[in-house]
Symmetry: D3
Subunit: 241 residues, 6 copies
């Protein structure tokens, strides 16, 4: 099975980390191809405009991969804002999974309620809105942030981890969270250690999305092309003669 | 990977059909054990009381399997009412997936909106409530029924299929459904043919649940035991001395 | 009027307390019959599995009572999880009231917002889900727990009461609660004292349910049998010839 | 028990009908006092402005009754818009029940879903909003109208009844309603006949409210005065010296 | 453009303040007429009953103004409970804007989430319900109060302002509010100073409503008279001959 | 006042139509600058991918305008999907209004419920989701489509208008809509004629957005920069040294 993992931002070291996590949990027969953001993609996605500038190259990468010799059987968007998720489902032939939606679905399968811990406060309303749209509005008790930029997860991992533990503990005590969702693809490597520290399941979206992507492909599920996720229309026919 | 598939009702032929579907889509290394309902379990689950009488034996089957030599890595409840799902998550060590929740999650991954077609009208409000609780209240446009008892899916499959096609067409035309979810485990065999007839993805809960169960187990995800899904309490310690 | 009060758990002393409360508030002409859980019923209902094992005997008790010489005019399920409420409505001829739904309805009639205080933290998400399903999601501001097992309400009543007062005060100060709902049938005896201590209405579900049960029976209201609450189907007719 | 029934509109014949219904279902010891709207009250309440002009006299009637020698133990507002319900709860000592809220609560106790049939189309969004606010948004499937003015229920009862039957049948067939709620106090007399014609429970708000009012009073439940329903404030103390 | 500003309460000094604010932000060509509450109108609106007694005179003032020589092009109700808003839309020819709805709409245009700070705690649930009904349930994170009566905003402005600052800071820190809405018409004069103190936009409902009223009138938008906001019906035709 | 109107698609004739509408309703002192989509912008926005490819050039146009000599006082995005609305609010200094949000807000100010009529069926779920996110989920009864591509509004206006009338009539009859919202910027010219044909208010988003944009600017309201809509972060400081 070919899995295409898209890191929408332009930081290649983060793509490497994501790909390593994906390979660690993928099925034996799954081949992982990870692509880093290019063109106008920012170094990290921290808000709506960052996402907007990252999406076109990401969509182009999907088209390139699907036109190639080993088209993906499933595609993962590895950024917790799920940037361009619906646009990707439109243009792709293969099913597309976003790490936020995947992580929230897994959280709803293994807990009655969970909290999400993300990087910057400015991402909190964005993720709350995703939870609302994905139907996790009740199950997700709170979206919290450690107030650390995405790139600092790499540059200052120890400080980031300490804050993750602290915020996770607050989620357990104040929110009644039964599980924690990591709100950034860059947190993947801290997942196991954090679960050990907190004593509850900690869900990394990259892992969740890779497994759901394999599940969709393995189950023969593909995006409906009979509605709002149909391939983009060719406008040439619409213009007046 | 060991998968335990629970058919809550007492109809062994339906267990066989479910197991065959599960085996067809399971990973090469997955071993499927399917258990038929016993004790007070009814021949089909068509309402709240039927479910209530089916659950205790189903929970006992989980305990038995988990105490055995080849404990399950994941468990599937193969009835579209998801009877006893949260109770099963409490008592089981392995993660538990219900076919209704699984099918709705898959539907939300591959379409913007979907409708569900179930057997009897009396099951419609039950499934609507599940959609509400699972966060699919917006994405699920309508729960429809073909007004055929569960067991008639086996005894009169041609009539049942004709009605499924008719109701599915109404879902596309009237609900704007982009995908159809089959609202009964007994419909699994009609899935491919129905998708062909309707021209949209048709999601069978058994397939969805088996793939999600494998995904959870493969990703190392297990039910949180730190909250409402902890193992049932031993009451002995609570009584006055 | 004959009222059947079902204590789903197997603790007879709790049944006695519930029955005493019911008799205290019932109409002069109401006759109370209280039944204790039997068979696989646990000593207390603290979670989904406890409820699942309590329901079958409870349903059997309803059938027995309705087949007897003085069938109930209304039925009360006296456990705050409202276990088996919809199944009971299916099998019973008489209307059925659960103490959680009754208490929340009364709370919505006498306050703009209320909080619920229950026993164990693990019951909190269960009751939150009930509030959501019963349409009290907005009016119910928070479900709180005193972190005391159900049976300890009897064995250590003074400690339990002290914690109820403390948690109730937090509900007034932090949630803006205008009334408090007791989240366990075993708290009935503390109701008056707690209302006195807090200075706001405190609603005991047993009282609420007994009065609503009398109201339904007195008003001639009975469960609709034209839909999802119809009597369970006889499956014999469904099987192939 | 003293029950005060308020007909907000100025049509005395409607008050008589409401009072007769109330007396028919009240407990043996309940004394019914019914008051007709006065002052600026319109002949019928068909919209927001009608309600606004009916409320002040209704509130004055409550104050008068509570200052009298036989103060009410509970109060019923007998108009399906529940006009002034929260204002009445503020100024009254006794608990106050509106017939719309009462009917919807009863409907949620005896069915999984119901539809409401009211008089004029213009009342439909008003009642939909009440259902939303009362937490019946899911259970109430649709608010329908027979397109007949309130007063025509009295002047042309046969035509009105025929339309009620027709609209009720549509509710059963199209909405999957398991019960019907009458959306106007003036429909009370048609309740039994309509239930017979439709074969499902039909809930009259006057009956529902009288029984809930007795239930509240009998259970010792009174409006919380610790919050938004406290007695109106005396402003004299607020002004600058 | 003629704008009619209605202060529902009877405190003329508050009307003056409101009118001054309105004139400060109105378009050059807008003429502001401000009317103080009369008849049974209370000195301030602090609850449902206060509102009920203020509405009839307010509706009469609209009718008077619309019958006059310079009928209003748009109408503003300048009390944060939006008392009688829908009744006013029914009886008025011109569009009607309430300051609460206006302020919440503006808040949703310039921030992802906001909190409201009102006067008394008893108004909190009233405003929460408005937010719910206006569709701001998600965007409005919390309704807070400074626990000061409406009239004290005039009599003790410094103390009131200090508490507004304190509560606004809590809203930023605890609610993640990105903007603050002033929850009382009497706070208009503190708006600029508060925004300066808090460093975020502070939205005064009077300003918001005046600008939206001008926008509606300028865009040619008027209340739909084809439904629930049609002019009140004349009942004379309904009575039996 | 300077207003920047952004047509995200690349069809200049549509920009001209939008600008003409804007100029017709703008305040005397308002100067309208309208910009057509460029770069990867498609000829029309009919789905998520079209939007994604239109957004970057639109954001660049905002930056260019704000850096120029006559920076805009308010900005309008003139496409009913409100593409890039939140990203635009992040990068812009001036407030930004989307025509869908503006139209829905106006609809909620002048009617109790409305329906939206858009071009293609594939846009229906997109607009439904916007209604949900903007808090118009209750007030918006249904999103309908005329099944005509965006560009055909220009090339075949008579056919388009006939279908708009037909679909609008269905909205009145079936949805109980009291007003109609035009679900495409390209429909602006048909607004008056359609309102005349249907007899209810018809709301064009371009008009609504221009008037709300002027209202925001005139009221001194600007986007909060203290949260999720702050200017995009400069990532340079985040990288490790």
């Amino acid at each position: 099975m070919n899995l295409l993992i898209l890191n929408p931002n332009s930081t290649a070291s983060m793509t490497d980390t994501i790909a390593a996590t994906a390979r660690r949990v993928a099925l034996p027969g799954s081949r992982i191809v990870a692509v880093t953001g290019s063109g106008t993609a920012p170094a990290s996605v921290e808000g709506h405009a960052d996402a907007a500038f990252a999406i076109p190259a990401m969509l182009a990468a999907i088209r390139l991969a699907e036109a190639g010799g080993a088209p993906p059987d499933a595609i993962v968007i590895a950024c917790f804002d799920d940037p361009g998720l619906l646009a990707a489902r439109e243009i792709a032939c293969a099913p597309v999974v976003g790490i936020a939606q995947a992580a929230m679905q897994v959280a709803m399968l293994i807990s009655a309620r969970f909290s999400i811990v993300t990087t910057l406060p400015r991402s909190v309303p964005i993720i709350e809105e995703l939870a609302h749209v994905y139907g996790a509005g009740n199950a997700c008790r709170r979206v919290r942030s450690v107030d650390i930029p995405v790139l600092a997860l790499e540059s200052a991992p120890d400080a980031a981890f300490a804050r993750l533990v602290a915020e996770g503990r607050r989620a357990l005590a104040e929110d009644g969270a039964e599980a924690i969702v990591l709100g950034c693809a860059g947190m993947a490597e801290m997942c196991g250690k954090l679960s050990h520290a907190l004593g509850v399941p900690v869900i990394d979206g990259v892992v969740a999305a890779v497994k759901l992507a394999e599940a969709l492909a393995g189950g023969g599920f593909s995006t409906s092309k009979a509605g709002s996720l149909a391939y983009p229309r060719n406008k040439a026919a619409d213009a007046p003669a």
